[in-house]
C-alpha cells in the first residue's frame, strides 16, 4: 500500500462544506497530489451533519475508505457513522467554541484552531469554512497563491464577499502554518512534478459532458435526487452548448417530450431517479414500439418509494431491466467511475440512434457525488454521425430489413412522410391488427437484441483471470472492489467489472465458467446482478457481498468480506 491521507470534513447543510471541498480538491490536485473526494449528505437544506471525504495519495485512487486520518468537524453533532470510523490515530482539528464538550475526554488527539473567531474577525461567521480551507492548505503544503486564485474564481463577482473570505482563509492559513511549524502534523506525501494539473470531475459533470459529446441537444426532467444534478448542469450550461433544456411538469411529460424531440431529429435525454423512472415506464414502452431512440439517465438511490433521497444504492437494475410493458430490446450501461460515465453517456446516444432502442445510463448517488481525478478526458475521437436518413416519397418508417433496423427518417428532413404509431403497425406506420404482420414486426424489433449482444462492452478484468476466484461487480462499486482486491494481494483472484449490464456480452459465460468460486459484490439486498448472471450463464454465485444501508461500500468493508469468503474454501 502506498502513502495516503484521508481527511473528512463534517458540517451542517448550509455551512459551506461543499465549498471547502471544491476549493481543497482543486488546490490539492494542483499541488501535485492524487486526490479523490466523495460526500454523503442528509436530505435537508439546513442543519444536520454532512460529511466529505478527501483522499490524498501518492498514486491514483478512486474509492471510499472508512479510515479517517484527519477529521475536521465544522459543527457539533457528529453522526454515529462518523464516530464509528474514528480510530486511535485519527487527529481531530476543530474549534472548541463550536464543538463545545463534544470531544471532551475523547482519547483522540485534538488540535484547536478557532475558526469562528477567525471568521468573525474577517467579517462574518459564514466564512469559517474558508478559514478551514486555509488551514488545511497550509497543513498539506499548498501554496497560498493557489487557494487565493481559486477563491477569486469563486467569489470574484462579489468583491465584498471575496474580501471576507480572503481574510478568513489567510488567517486560517497562517494558523495552519504555525501548527505545521510546531510539528503538530506529520503528514508527508510525495508529490508529482510541478505542472501536474489533472481534470477533477464529478459524476454529474461526467454524465452531462459525455452526453453532450454524444450529441445530446435536448434535456428534459422533473427534479429528483440524484438525477437532477445532470438537469442542473445542463440548465446552467444550456447557452454555452446551445441546447434545449426544459424542466417538465412530471416525468411522464419529460419522457414523452424526449420521444417527440428524437422523432424530430434531436438527441434527447431525460434524467431522473428510480421513482421518476417508474413513472416513465409507459413512455419507455412507447419508444420501444415506435423504435424511437431514447436515452435516460437513472441515478439510483435507495427505495422503495421515497426511500432515502440523498443516499445511494444499486437496487434499480431490475427496474431498468424490466421497465415497460411488452417485450423489447434495450441497453443498460453502468459506469464505474467518471471516465466511464463520460464515455458511456456519449456512447448511449450513438447506440440509441443506431439501433433505435431505449438506452439507460445507470449511475447512483455515490458516483454522481464523487470527484474523480483524470490526467485527461480525451475527446480526440471526434467522429460523430447521425443515423437517420433523408426521406423520399413513398418512405416506409418500418421497412423490413435484413438486420431489423429500418432506416429512420425524422420530421422535416426529406420529401417523404414519417409516420410513427404506438399501435402495432405495418411498414408504413399504419395501425395493423393482422396477426402475421404482428409476428413479423415483433420479430423485427426483437432481432435487434442479437446485434446489441454482439456489440456489448466486455467487462474489464483486473488480477489473475486464470485463478480460481472471480469477483464480479457492476457500476460504481468497481474501483472500490479493485482497491480491496489489491490490498489482499492475492494471485488467485480476478475482479470482473461490468460497465454494461444488459445485454451481457457473450463472453460472460466463458469468463465465469473457469472460476471455482464466484463472488458477486453489489449495493442491494437481494443480489440482482448475481441473478442476472445466473439467468444469462447458468452460473450461480457462491457468495454475495451485499450492502443496502444507503451508504457505499468502503474498501475495508469489501476487503474484509472478500477475505472471509476466500477463507471459506471453494464454492463448489
Amino acid at each position: 500500500m502506498g502513502k495516503e491521507i484521508s481527511v473528512v470534513l463534517c458540517g451542517a447543510a448550509g455551512q459551506g462544506v461543499q465549498t471547502v471541498e471544491s476549493l481543497l480538491v482543486k488546490a490539492l490536485a494542483r499541488s501535485g497530489y492524487h486526490v479523490f473526494a466523495t460526500k454523503e449528505s442528509m436530505s435537508r437544506v439546513r442543519g444536520g451533519s454532512n460529511s466529505t471525504e478527501i483522499r490524498i495519495a501518492d498514486r491514483h485512487i478512486e474509492a471510499f475508505v472508512d479510515r479517517i486520518d484527519l477529521l475536521v468537524p465544522l459543527n457539533g453533532g457528529l453522526r454515529p457513522n462518523i464516530w464509528k470510523r474514528l480510530d486511535g490515530k485519527t487527529v481531530i482539528l476543530g474549534d472548541r467554541e463550536e464543538l463545545k464538550e463534544e470531544f471532551e475526554g475523547h482519547p483522540n488527539r485534538f488540535i484547536e484552531i478557532p475558526f469562528l473567531e477567525i471568521a468573525r474577525k474577517a467579517g462574518g461567521e459564514v466564512t469559517a469554512n474558508s478559514a478551514a480551507a486555509g488551514a488545511l492548505c497550509a497543513i498539506f503544503g499548498v501554496e497560498f497563491e493557489l487557494l487565493d486564485d481559486l477563491l477569486k474564481r469563486r467569489f470574484g463577482a462579489k468583491p465584498e464577499i471575496l474580501g471576507k473570505n480572503h481574510s478568513s482563509a489567510t488567517e486560517g492559513y497562517n494558523r495552519g502554518l504555525a501548527l505545521v511549524g510546531s510539528g503538530a502534523f506529520g503528514f508527508r506525501l510525495p508529490r508529482r512534478d510541478p505542472g501536474w494539473k489533472p481534470v477533477m470531475i464529478d459524476g454529474h459533470t461526467a454524465v452531462s459532458l459525455g452526453a453532450l459529446a454524444g450529441g445530446c441537444n435536448f434535456v428534459t426532467a422533473y427534479p429528483m435526487s440524484p438525477g437532477s444534478g445532470v438537469l442542473a448542469f445542463m440548465g446552467q450550461n444550456a447557452s454555452k452548448f446551445d441546447i434545449a433544456v426544459e424542466q417538465a411538469e412530471d416525468e411522464i411529460a419529460a419522457v414523452n417530450m424526449a420521444i417527440g424531440a428524437w422523432a424530430a431529429g434531436a438527441r434527447a435525454m431525460a434524467t431522473t431517479s428510480g421513482g421518476g423512472f417508474a413513472l416513465m415506464e409507459e413512455g419507455i414502452s412507447l419508444a420501444a414500439v415506435t423504435e424511437t431512440p431514447l436515452v435516460i439517465h437513472l441515478g439510483q438511490r435507495p427505495g422503495p418509494a421515497t426511500g432515502m433521497a440523498t443516499r445511494t444504492e444499486q437496487a434499480d437494475l431490475e427496474l431498468a431491466l424490466y421497465a415497460g410493458h411488452g417485450e423489447f430490446p434495450r441497453i443498460i450501461l453502468s459506469p464505474g467511475d467518471a471516465q466511464e460515465a463520460f464515455d458511456l453517456s456519449r456512447r448511449a446516444f450513438d447506440w440509441a440512434d443506431r439501433y433505435q432502442v431505449p438506452v439507460f445510463v445507470l449511475t447512483d448517488e455515490y458516483l454522481l457525488d464523487s470527484v474523480y481525478e483524470r490526467e485527461k478526458l480525451p475527446l480526440e475521437d471526434g467522429s460523430f454521425s447521425h443515423h437517420f436518413v433523408e426521406t423520399q416519397p413513398g418512405y416506409l418508417r418500418y421497412r423490413m430489413t435484413e438486420d431489423g433496423i429500418s432506416p429512420r427518417g425524422v420530421f422535416g428532413n426529406g420529401t417523404g412522410l414519417v409516420r410513427i404509431d404506438s399501435h402495432e403497425h405495418d411498414e408504413s406506420g399504419h395501425i395493423e391488427e393482422d396477426f402475421e404482420m404482428r409476428e413479423r414486426m415483433q420479430g423485427k424489433r426483437m432481432s435487434k437484441l442479437d446485434l446489441l449482444e454482439r456489440e456489448a462492452i466486455p467487462p474489464s478484468v483486473h488480477g489473475n483471470p486464470d485463478g480460481n476466484t472471480v469477483v464480479a461487480c457492476w457500476g460504481s462499486t468497481g474501483p472500490i472492489v479493485k482497491e480491496a482486491l489489491d490490498r489482499l494481494d492475492r494471485d488467485d483472484a480476478a475482479l470482473v467489472h461490468f460497465s454494461q449490464v444488459y445485454p451481457l456480452p457473450p463472453s460472460t459465460g466463458r469468463l465465469l465458467a473457469g472460476a471455482k468460486r464466484l463472488l458477486v459484490v453489489e449495493g442491494n439486498s437481494t443480489g440482482q446482478f448475481a441473478r442476472l448472471l445466473r439467468t444469462h450463464t447458468g452460473r450461480k454465485a457462491d457468495h454475495l457481498l451485499l450492502n443496502f444501508r444507503g451508504h457505499q461500500f468502503s474498501v475495508e468493508e469489501i476487503a474484509r468480506g472478500l477475505e472471509k469468503a476466500l477463507a471459506g474454501g471453494e464454492g463448489r
Partner: protein
C-alpha cells in the same frame, strides 16, 4: 394546395357513421390547404382515443403516442424543429382527463402548437364511460346513477392559466370550425380549440340537435379579441355556449421555442446540429 392533397387513399376509417370526427377531419384538411401548407410541413401528434386516430386518416407526418401524452410529444417535436407546423389532436378524455396535467403546463409553456380537442363529452374508444366534460347526471354503463362530478371547463381553465389563444367550435358548423382552426394555426403560441362534437353511439344527451339548440355563434369575428376578463365571462357562460374565438392575445409573447438556448444563435432544427466538441474540450480543460 388542395384539401385532396391531405387525403389518404383507401383509408379504412373506423369511426361510426355520423360521427362528428368526419366533419372535423374534413375541415382540418381544408384549413391546412387554405393556409398553403403541404403535408410534409405538418406534424400531426395525437394520443389515444377516437379523435386521436385522426392523423391516420390524413397525409402528413404523424406520431400517435400514448393516451393523454400528445401535448408533451408535440412540445418535444416543436422544440426540436420549430419550422414545422405542429398540431396536437385528441378527445376530451385524452386531453382533459389522462393528459390534464400536461394541458395546464403546456398552456403555461406556450409552445407554438395548435391543440384540437374533439369534445363529445363521453368516452368512445372504451365504449361509453363518463369523460371529464360529461354533464352531471349523464348515465353510462359505469356511472349508472348518472355523473356526479362537475364537468371540467377547458376554456376557463385555459384562460386562467394564461393561454394566448382560446376558441370553441362545433363540428356541425363546418365553415366556422374551419376558420377557427385556421386562425389557431396562424396564431403564434399555444392555441386551444375545443370542438363540440356529438358521439352518435354513446352520448344520447349531447346530440347534433342538442348542440344546435345550445350554442350560438359570437357575432363578430374579430382580428383580435384581447380581453381576458370578457373572455372568461364567455367561457363561464352557457348554455347556450358561445362559439368562436374567445381570446386571442395581442402582441408578440415569446413562445417556448423562442426562449430555448438552442435557438438564440440560429433557428436551425436540432437534427442539423453536431456536438460542440471544441467547447466541451475547453470546459474539460477548465476542470483542471
Amino acid at each position: 394546395m388542395s384539401p385532396r392533397d391531405f387525403d389518404v387513399e383507401h383509408a379504412d376509417v373506423s369511426w361510426c357513421p355520423g360521427c362528428g370526427n368526419f366533419q372535423i377531419l374534413s375541415v382540418l384538411k381544408e384549413a391546412l390547404a387554405e393556409l398553403g401548407l403541404s403535408p410534409r410541413e405538418v406534424v400531426l401528434v395525437s394520443g389515444i382515443g377516437q379523435a386521436a386516430k385522426t392523423p391516420h386518416f390524413m397525409q402528413g407526418h404523424i406520431i400517435q403516442g400514448l393516451h393523454g401524452r400528445g401535448l408533451p410529444v408535440a412540445t418535444g417535436v416543436k422544440a426540436a424543429n420549430p419550422g414545422m407546423t405542429v398540431l396536437a389532436i385528441g378527445g376530451d378524455g385524452d386531453m382533459y382527463g389522462e393528459g390534464g396535467n400536461h394541458l395546464v403546463h403546456t398552456i403555461r409553456r406556450n409552445p407554438d402548437i395548435t391543440n384540437l380537442v374533439h369534445n363529445n363529452m363521453v368516452y368512445g374508444l372504451t365504449k361509453g364511460q363518463a369523460s371529464p366534460t360529461s354533464p352531471i347526471g349523464l348515465k353510462t354503463p359505469v356511472q349508472v346513477d348518472g355523473v356526479f362530478a362537475e364537468p371540467l371547463n377547458p376554456l376557463a381553465l385555459a384562460l386562467s392559466q394564461g393561454a394566448s389563444f382560446v376558441a370553441r367550435a362545433f363540428s356541425g358548423d363546418m365553415p366556422g370550425t374551419r376558420e377557427i382552426i385556421k386562425a389557431a394555426i396562424l396564431h403564434r403560441g399555444y392555441s386551444l380549440v375545443d370542438i363540440f362534437q356529438p358521439c352518435v353511439s354513446f352520448n344520447k344527451v349531447n346530440t347534433y340537435k342538442w348542440f344546435k339548440e345550445n350554442t350560438y355563434v359570437l357575432e363578430d369575428f374579430p382580428e383580435t379579441r384581447n380581453d381576458r376578463g370578457k373572455a372568461m365571462e364567455l367561457a363561464l357562460a352557457g348554455p347556450p355556449f358561445p362559439l368562436g374565438i374567445l381570446y386571442r392575445e395581442k402582441g408578440d409573447r415569446p413562445t417556448f421555442e423562442d426562449h430555448l438556448a438552442a435557438y438564440r444563435e440560429t433557428r436551425e432544427p436540432l437534427w442539423r446540429r453536431t456536438p460542440p466538441l471544441e467547447r466541451i474540450g475547453s470546459y474539460i480543460e477548465g476542470l483542471r
